[in-house]
Amino acid sequence: MTTQSDAHRVVQAFRRQRYNLADLALVLAAALTLLFGEYYLALAAFVVIMAIFALSLDLAQGYGGIESLGHAAFFGVGAYAAALYALHFSSEPVSGLLVAAVAAGVVGLVSGFAVLRTQGLTQLMLTLAIATLLYELANVAKAITNGDDGLSGYDVAPVFGLFQFDIYGYTGFVYAFVVLVLVYALLKKLVNSSIGQTAQGIRENQTRMRMLGVPVERRLWVLYTISAALAGVAGGLSAQINRIVGLDSLAFTLSANVVVMLALGGTGRLYGALFGAILFVVLSDRAAAIDPTNWLAVLGVVLILIVRYAPDGLAGFVARWSAKRGQK
């Protein structure tokens, strides 16, 4: 005989990504930045944009197990889409973000067709190849992208017609932060729902998922497309806030950086992406301020330390620490 409490036990045994203290701390940090960090708002907006970008990669890599060294492809497509939209159609920012998401999503949908047929190193190389292809395409199509010089000179209208983008970056930061909160909430919902469980199942054991009757490729395709669209949102934000889109938004460096951010923060936990983006951007900025020539070495050392002592990233470290506390 089973009882209602048995079913309850089973429900409890499903681990969910809940909102926790870390999330509250991050909101507080954002509020404090807004109040006291007026000289750092541009940097803070960049942190937020990278956080969204890293979250998008976490969905594909941390949950779905899709390896990518070319996620900048989607960031860049989103950025160019938002800039071109502002330049030729409308300077309204929210619809611009949607255009960025759709454009990047379509690229994810199409490239996913090839990428998701492979695994491991082959997959990594394919994502790299696709990003490089887009980079070169943007470089060659000067009539549209302005090549090396980048796209600029477009206007971005006030958000909802109310909030004008100011030179201090208040609006830019708040706007990006609100988008981050929305993206974060969407991802929490997704990873706790069936598709999130399915993604983890595929990451853990693709063969068995097939033998449970799951159409593995189709599920990954959905996941990859959503991931691409969210990366596109990050790119679109970058285009709108910085008022310039260059080839670097499609570059390998950006793809590699976001992988490092996720490694620092920890995959498969969402808030790891937030930790990683903050750590990476702030550390790079401070290190570069102190030593403009050798600052990358600092990042290298931190990465080595994290990989050695906290292989699951900061988020994994925090999770283990709080699990230990919970046992006491």
Binding site: M1, T2, D6, A7, H8, R9, V10, V11, Q12, A13, F14, R15, K189, L190, N192, S193, S194, I195, G196, Q197, T198, Q200, G201, E204, N205, T207, R208, M209, R210, M211, L212, G213, V214, P215, V216, R218, R219, V222
Partner: protein
């Protein structure tokens, strides 16, 4: 009555190597059928042809009367064919409940839902609880697989297939590697498998085969040597020579 699973003249050739030679086999609904044979007899290749990982060079595979020879493995599962693996094939970093949940949500066709989870369905959670309870694993529902003992994992290996509510179940060496101290629960589970499910068990353990099976097929060098009831197979001199003999002398 249509058979639950029917193999009609399956042949598989890799170049000149004939791994499956004209194998025909019928599993009636609810039957307990064992497939035995020495190493290299082509048991695995045959299983792959049934599950769809390998397509046969010739012959047909019918599931509940429907021709599934050209269907993908996933589609076959959807039509009621489930299997377990000789080497545990679980989701090691997920909890026991999450493992079972994956199978249930796949069966229900809910595995692609973006905004809902099966934890919201009281019926499905009751079902998962009942399944875990019947295996004596309810207390371990929140443990991740990699924390479990080997015998417990073996139970979950079968539970995942059972959660699919199949009409045909392939068990690939279900007791392989389980120490005799942990085997009781597993034997118990095998004997309590749902009566309407046709079970094909591939096994080396003769005690289990003779205890569990109603019919036995002996495969040697890719071809069916003998098929019959347990009694017939035990008495067959060719089987004793090829298979049982080796064991008894060895």
């Amino acid at each position: 009555m249509t058979a639950a699973l029917e193999l009609q003249g399956l042949c598989k050739q890799f170049g000149q190597l004939k791994v499956t030679q004209d194998v025909s086999l019928t599993l009636e609904k609810g039957v307990r059928h064992a497939l035995i044979g020495p190493n290299g007899a082509g048991k695995s290749t045959l299983v792959h042809q049934i599950t769809g990982l390998i397509s046969p060079s010739r012959g047909r595979v019918l599931l509940n009367g429907a021709d599934i020879t050209d269907l993908s493995p996933e589609k076959r599962v959807k039509l009621g064919l489930a299997r377990t693996f000789q080497i545990n094939s679980l989701f090691n970093r997920l909890t026991v409940a999450e493992n079972i949940g994956l199978a249930i949500s796949a069966r229900e066709g809910r595995d692609g839902r973006l905004f809902s989870s099966i934890t919201q369905s009281p019926e499905l959670m009751d079902e998962a609880a009942a399944l875990l309870h019947s295996l004596g694993l309810l207390d371990l529902a929140d443990r991740v697989i990699s924390d479990l003992a080997y015998g417990q994992r073996r139970l979950i290996e079968i539970a995942l297939a059972l959660a699919l509510k199949p009409s045909v179940l392939l068990l690939d060496e279900p007791v392989a590697g389980v120490p005799s101290t942990e085997g009781a629960r597993l034997f118990d589970l095998l004997e309590r498998l749902p009566q309407d499910v046709a079970v094909l068990v591939i096994e080396h353990d003769m005690d289990l085969v003779f205890r569990f099976a109603q019919r036995i097929t002996v495969l040697v060098e890719g071809a069916v040597l003998v098929e019959g009831s347990v009694k017939e197979v035990r008495a067959d001199p060719r089987v004793r020579a090829v298979y049982l003999g080796e064991r008894h002398h060895g």
